[in-house]
């Protein structure tokens, strides 16, 4: 196994699937000769040619709508939205249409579509290059939502997403792209959608998270282990379908839970996780359900000071975990 970054894992995952299946193709802004603004498709244009690596006009509604239409015909499009913040023009196709195709045709049609969405902050992206958009799609029936945190997960989940016959919104945390590195098998492997991963086993407190925040949670857990608090870190990996069983199992074991995400707290994925725990593990809870999430302001501001103030950090997570353990 070689050590790779998240962006490399994403690139490999797409590349291998494009080699494996001629129906897979990529479309989006600057995915061609430029190789994508994050270089996720670097070298693809040269390898697969301009029929399979399509530089689109700057028009997100059509990127998703055209991908959807191609999927009706049995293609397996991967649509890249350059930054999550630019997905809104495509909301009609993604929220309005994609999730209802199979259901609304009574199963006549299915939609093997992946929409790849670089998202998240901590990279001085300011109000319009940082957004966490996952909860909007999380709330949309008929869509699957995947949010990997490591190179291993990214590649395995992306390959599953591409092979899945349903529309999958695949959000990739931009800060993990180069920051997070890890071992990635050289041979073909897939990871099932809908299965969370216990990234660190523990018995004292559960922390549930996904994406970049998983790494901060792991650091916080490490920090707390010195203080005698044994933290279990559950990485959701797939937000929808949500692996409620793994969450509940962990909480039933620990009796204490902190939910961490970067997205705005109100109406975020964490609210649903909390609600599931509050109904499904009520009798096991020894402390109020904690949430440490982004505040309810429109994403991370640009100024370093404000961006920092926005982001949950290893320190703030550790401190919440400490409080919970002591409750």
């Amino acid at each position: 196994m070689a050590v790779k970054s998240v962006i490399e894992a994403v690139r490999e995952g797409m590349f291998e699937e494009m080699c494996r299946d001629p129906d897979v193709f990529l479309l989006g802004e600057d995915v061609g000769p430029r190789g994508g603004v994050f270089l996720a498709s670097q070298g693809f244009y040269e390898e697969f040619g301009r029929d399979r690596i399509i530089d689109t006009p700057l028009a997100e509604a059509s990127i998703v709508g055209i991908a959807l239409g191609a999927a009706y015909k049995g293609m397996r499009p991967i649509a890249e939205i350059q930054f999550s913040d630019f997905i809104w023009p495509a909301a009609n196709q993604l929220i309005g249409e994609a999730g209802r195709v199979c259901y609304g045709t009574n199963g006549n049609l299915s939609v093997p579509l992946v929409v790849r969405v670089p998202y998240g902050g901590g990279i001085r992206g300011g109000l319009f290059h940082s957004q966490n958009v996952e909860s909007y799609f999380f709330h949309t029936p008929g869509l699957k939502v995947v949010a990997p945190s490591t190179p291993f997960d990214a590649k395995g989940l992306l390959k599953s997403a591409i092979r899945d016959n349903n529309p999958v919104v695949f959000v990739e945390h931009k800060k993990t792209y180069r920051m997070v590195r890890g071992e990635v098998p050289d041979d073909d492997y897939v990871l099932p959608l809908g299965v969370a991963d216990v990234k660190r086993a523990g018995s004292g407190v559960t922390v549930v998270s996904y994406g970049l925040m998983v790494h901060y949670c792991l650091e916080a857990a490490e920090a707390l282990s010195g203080e005698g608090v044994d933290v279990e870190v559950v990485d959701l990996r797939t937000l929808k379908p949500l692996d409620v069983d793994t969450i509940l199992d962990s909480v039933r074991k620990t009796g204490r839970v902190l939910i961490v995400h970067e997205d705005n707290i109100t109406g975020g994925v964490g609210a649903e996780v909390a609600a599931r725990i509050a109904s499904g593990a009520f009798d096991y809870l020894d402390a109020p359900i904690g949430r440490l999430c982004g505040p309810d302001v429109p994403t991370m501001p640009f100024a370093s000071s404000l961006e920092e103030a926005y982001m949950p950090s290893t320190e703030s997570i550790a401190s919440e975990l400490r409080n919970l353990a002591a409750y």
Partner: protein
């Protein structure tokens, strides 16, 4: 400026228009027979709505010549795939649905071929007849149709996509994006705008500052054509030409000028916004009348035949209504089915 496409002139002695367009007497009679049936179905549906048995219906009355003309062209071509819109009722029936299937769709019953009763009538997909219309969100299908055409091209197929929308729908940004993309990639697609000059109540001059939607095609590097959509033969001819053009040269925008005879849907009251005599005047061009006249003039249809056609149609509609009414709605336990494909 968009070109104006005309049917072969009526002045020509012989061959008759339908023959010039490659339709035998039997074929044109068959099409007319369908039209009579469609009208009977539509009228019944409206009545059923008033009786509380059909929650909602849009009507294609006034658009039939355009719809059947373009459909006939597609069928003669044999390699077309259709993305119609909610007003394409005549088209969706004429592809080959049984009256009972139609009624089941309008009543939300098991056996609705489009969505199994999950959606408004005739929305979803009728794949055996090569039709997709996921939703009635106006123009949401236009980028999808364009993507379908792209896929056909990538797969080196012959498929030409026909994509339908109203002039109201042409205001949506997605239509611009779709056509622009089709222009860049020279896709085999015919955009068909059924322009009835109203988006529900909003007249054309409050929708756009131009006379023809077709003129916009130039903005995307392709051709726009205006055709009299009240004329079946003109519509057929223009669509046939457009299909050939799309297959060999790329996208084309066909604007069919039509009349909406009925209120927007069964929920609408058009007296609030429409001059009282407008529909009356328009009805003089009713294709149910004009095609009958044509057929009679050319000795293909007699008054008796027409009567028996109408009677037959009514019988079919009666039967279809009864059995659809008797059919069950989908079982409540199926509510979670097909949320995801396996």
């Amino acid at each position: 400026m968009a070109r104006v496409s005309r049917a072969p002139s009526t002045e020509t002695a012989l061959p008759t228009k339908h023959k010039q367009l490659g339709l035998s007497d039997d074929e044109i009679l068959g099409i007319y027979n369908k039209l009579v049936l469609i009208r009977a179905i539509e009228e019944r549906i409206w009545a059923l709505n008033r009786q509380g048995k059909v929650p909602i219906a849009a009507s294609s009355q006034g658009h039939e010549a355009a719809q059947l003309g373009s459909l006939t062209a597609a069928q003669k071509d044999g390699s077309c795939f259709l993305f119609p819109y909610y007003r394409d009722v005549a088209l969706k029936i004429a592809v080959g649905l049984e009256p009972e299937q139609v009624m089941r769709s309008f009543m939300g019953k098991v056996g609705d071929p489009y969505s199994g009763g999950r959606q408004f009538p005739f929305q979803g997909a009728d794949l055996p007849h090569k039709i997709i219309q996921i939703s009635n969100v106006v123009s949401a299908g236009v980028t999808q149709a364009t993507g379908y055409a792209l896929a056909g091209k990538l797969k080196h197929e012959e498929t030409v996509v026909l994509c339908y929308f109203g002039e109201g729908g042409s205001s949506q940004g997605e239509v611009h994006e779709a056509m622009n993309f089709a222009g860049v990639h020279n896709l085999p697609i015919v955009y068909i705008c059924e322009n009835n000059r109203y988006a529900i109540s909003v007249p054309q001059n409050r929708q756009m500052a131009v006379g023809n939607v077709a003129d916009r095609a130039e903005s995307y590097g392709f051709r726009g054509v205006v055709v009299d959509g009240m004329d079946f033969f003109a519509s057929l001819q223009a669509t046939s030409d457009a299909i050939l053009h799309a297959r060999s040269q790329g996208p084309i925008l066909l604007e069919m000028k039509v009349e909406r005879f009925m209120p927007h849907t069964t929920d609408d009251d058009d007296r609030r916004y429409r001059p009282s005599n407008e529909v009356e005047t328009a009805r003089q061009q009713d294709p149910v009348l004009t095609i009958a006249d044509y057929l009679k003039v050319h000795g293909i249809l007699t008054d008796e035949q027409l009567d028996s056609m109408r009677n037959e149609a009514q019988e079919k509609v009666d039967e279809a209504t009864d059995s659809a009414e008797a059919a069950p709605p989908p079982d409540a336990s199926t509510i979670h089915d097909h949320l995801f494909a396996s």
